[in-house]
Structures are given as C-alpha cells and as structure tokens.
C-alpha cells in the first residue's frame, strides 16, 4: 500500500485535545451502528477537513483502523492544508480512469490512519458520485476498516454532500461557533434528512473560551480545571 506523510498535523492544546477525545468517544460509541460517517457543514470553511483529520488521527491512535475519504472533488484543500506528502492518484482519478482501490488508499504516518485524497478538481462530480464504483469503493473500505470518515463539501453550497449522504450510515454536522446561521443549519439538516441519512450529531467548532458565555456553555468544569492546573498535579 502506498504511503503518505501528514506533515502539518498540529497537536491540539489540552482543552482542545480533551474536547476532541470527547467527540471521538461519542463517535466510537456510535460507530457500532455507523461504519460510514460523513462530515459536512451548512456553509464553507467551518472546519470539516480540520475535524476529519483530527478524528482520523485520534481514533487511529486508539488502535482503530480508520480511513478518511476526501470527497470534496470540486475544491479540496486537505492535501495542501495538512502538507500531505507523496500523494499520487486520488478519488477523482479512480472514479474517472478506473483502477484498483488500493491505488488510491494511502497509509499515513499515523498507524491505523488511511487516506483517500480527492485528487484533481472536477467541475461536475455528481456523475462520479453516482457511479457504482464510488459505492463499491465505500463498501470495500467499510469491509476493511473499523470506520470510514467521509469529508464532503458543505451541504448548503452544493448538492454533492446530499448525494453522498444517501450512501452513508450517518452524518456529523459541523458548525462554527458564532458564524453558522440557524437558518442555514436548519436547511442543512433538512437536506441530509431528505437523503434518508441519520444525523449522528453536531460538533461546534472554533468555540471561543475567552468569553464568559462560552465558558458557561462548553466544558466549563474541564476548562476551569485545565486552566487552574488541576491536571498538572503529580502525586
């Protein structure tokens, strides 16, 4: 299997790492029933790829075999964003040119974490996403891995995510604190539900812990203990 290196996978700070642990644990509990989980959002740049890569990393470090499929065939930035080194063919090439699934599934430098990059940008990816090859690829990955994460474009921007949702067992909606509009989130939810894909849950991203209101809402106790050095004590 070909190998790639994630050069810019940044470690989260302690609060972020604990929050990610909580998210991944909740996903692990859900993954007994959901093998193919898509991550989408209501609008662009809310942190889908960021969350996908970190979930991949986190679950792989727990000993799970996890594959991340980058399905943003129109405008993927994952390879550049995380400095993925050694990428050849991607999903787009596999769906257009044919070949073996092994050609586009890359083993990363994180043991247990595998990546299917998006490949070259495609203007109209809908026919590709409708193709039996895509369905077959997802089934093959599901059989080989404990969990398949599918990073999709924003459901509020293009219909690709809704098409992919129809093939997934569950969806995670990513929304950005203080940016995602309620009406956009409601629209995204309706669109995913229309594809008969159950929504596992929602992840709030880029939460600012600087404000009192956010401290009150999110992991207040954890935040306070982290900041006070509670977990720094060594007996």
């Amino acid at each position: 299997m070909k190998q790639v290196k994630l050069n810019r996978l940044e470690a989260l700070d302690r609060v972020g790492a604990e929050s990610l642990n909580a998210i991944c644990s909740n996903l692990s509990f859900a993954s007994e029933n959901f093998k193919k989980i898509m991550l989408t959002s209501a609008s662009a740049r809310e942190g889908k790829s960021y969350l996908s890569v970190h979930i991949l990393n986190n679950l792989a470090r727990r000993g799970k075999r996890v594959a991340l499929v980058d399905c943003d065939l129109r405008k993927s930035d994952l390879v550049n964003q995380y400095g993925v080194e050694g990428v050849g063919k991607g999903l787009a090439e596999y769906l257009t040119d044919g070949g073996l699934a092994e050609d586009v599934v890359y083993e990363t430098n994180v043991p247990g974490a595998y990546l299917v990059p998006a490949g070259a940008a495609v203007v109209d990816p809908l026919p590709l996403l409708h193709s039996p090859k895509f369905t077959a690829l997802l089934e093959e990955l599901t059989a080989k891995f404990d969990l398949v994460l599918i990073d999709t474009p924003s459901v509020g921007l293009v219909i690709d995510a809704a098409e992919i949702a129809a093939l997934c067992d569950g969806a995670v909606l990513v929304c950005e604190y203080g940016k995602t509009r309620r009406k956009d989130l409601a629209q995204a939810k309706r669109q995913i539900e229309a594809a008969h894909c159950p929504i596992i849950g929602c992840v709030m991203n880029k939460v600012s812990f600087k404000t009192i209101s956010s401290k009150m809402y999110y992991n207040k106790a954890l935040y306070a203990r982290m900041k006070s050095g509670y977990y720094d004590q060594r007996k």
Binding site: E10, S19, A22, I23, K206
Partner: protein
C-alpha cells in the same frame, strides 16, 4: 366554576417550553452582557462624564434663580420637665410637639396675618405667599427654621422675620407646655439663591446609569436579532440534534504525527 388544566396537555407543555426558552434567553443575554463588561463600564463612565458636564456648564455660565432667600430661626423649648423621662420618650415627645407647632403655623390665619403686617394685599395672591414662606425643623433639633423667598432681598428678610414674630405669638396660644425663644433673626441676603435642580452627584449617577443602560439595551437587542449558533443548548433545543462536542479555537502548540 374553576377550569382545571391537564398537566400533561400539549398546551401546558408548550407553555412550559416557552417559559424555559425565555429563561435561557435571559441567561444568555446576561452572559453576553458580562462578556461586554468593559464596553459597558466605558459607556457608563462616558455617561457620568456627560452628567458632570451638565453640572459644570450651568456653573460656568453663573446661572442663578434671581430669587433671594433669608432664614430666621426659633428655639422651641418644652416646659414639661424631661429629666425624669427616659430618652426615647423625650425624643418622641419633642417630635410630637414640633409637628404640632408646624401644624399650628400652617393655617390660613397665620398667612393672612403675615400678608396684613407686610401690606402685601394686592401685591401677591394668597397662594403666592404660601410659596414664598417655608418652615422646617433642621435635623433632630428643637429649632424651627423659617425661610422667606422673594426677588427683593429685603422682602425675603421681612417675610422670614415677620413669620417668626407671628409664630412666637401663635404657638404659645395654641400649644401648651412649650416656650418659643427667638434664636436667629434673618438678615438681608447678599446673593440670589442658585438655580434649582438635581444635585451634582445625582446627575453624575444618573449619567453613569443611563450610559450603562443604553449600551446594555443595544447589546440585548443585537443578541435577540442574532441568528448565529452560539450554544449547544441552542442546537439541541432548536434542531433536536445531539451535540457530540465543542472544539475550541486552537492555538497551535507543536507539530505532531511525525
């Protein structure tokens, strides 16, 4: 007839939900205001500054009422021996007597006599004279202070002194066991009284509170108009979605996965 409501009815559940929603909104507004405490304090200080400016500007322009005030005083001495009476009872007795004195002076005969002695018939109406004379007990004393107010300083003095003279005659006639002793005669006031208005400190306090209130109101309106997702409760209640977690905005610490 009493109307009984089913605790589990849809209407009741809706009402409960609305009550809960209102409570959460108020709590959220409070947190948002706490987040903005610095701006609120600045606005309050600006308000206080404006209040202080409103105090200073009239003083700079030397705004005066044009009215002169002269004050005379009487000492009201109870003739009942109070040495054997406990202090609390003495105090209440004095207060009672002073109230009686004020009531005795607050009569039409007294003011008519004042008008007659000063020859103010036809000059002022009866109600105007009522406004020109005020009397009160300063603090917890036996003193009765009488102020005369007029645009003519001499008239102000005469009003105060003549009223005191009348009081010296009326009080012993109407109230027993009290002796009226002249304490202070009014003199001709030199400067007119300052213009009336709320006190300087009050204006500053009002400015402070008004500044803070206005900014709070603006933030509350902005909060209510805000359509953005800001809490897990918001997502759970409005969309019925489970929130798997909240990822904080990250500060990159180190490279990993190498």
């Amino acid at each position: 007839m009493t109307v009984q409501t089913n605790p589990g009815s849809v209407q009741n559940r809706n009402d409960a939900w609305q009550d809960e929603e209102m409570e959460i909104d108020l709590l959220s507004i409070m947190f948002r205001l706490i987040d903005k405490w610095k701006i609120i304090v600045i606005a309050a200080l600006v308000g206080a500054l404006l209040g202080a400016t409103m105090v200073i500007i009239p003083r700079l322009s030397d705004k005066e009422s044009g009215q002169y005030t002269a004050t005379a005083k009487l000492y009201l001495q109870p003739t009942v021996p109070t040495t054997s009476i406990i202090d609390g009872f003495d105090t209440s007795l004095t207060a009672y007597m002073l109230a009686e004195c004020r009531e005795a002076l607050n009569s039409q005969q007294v003011y008519q006599e004042l008008i007659a002695r000063l020859g103010l018939q036809g000059v002022y109406k009866y109600n105007e004279v009522l406004d020109m004379v005020t009397f009160w007990t300063p603090g917890n004393t036996h003193i009765l202070a009488v102020s005369g107010t007029s645009s003519d300083p001499e008239e102000a003095m005469n009003l105060a002194n003549t009223f005191v003279d009348i009081a010296q005659e009326v009080i012993p006639q109407q109230i027993e066991n009290i002796e009226v002793v002249p304490f202070l005669r009014a003199t001709v006031p030199v400067e007119p009284a300052p213009a009336e208005g709320s006190s300087s400190m009050m204006k500053v306090i009002i400015g402070f509170a008004l500044g803070a209130f206005l900014v709070c109101a603006v933030y509350a309106v902005l909060f209510l108009m805000d359509d953005k997702v800001r809490s897990a409760e918001d997502i759970e209640k409005r969309f019925g979605l489970t929130v798997l977690g909240a990822l904080p905005a990250q500060v990159v610490k180190k490279e990993a996965g190498k």
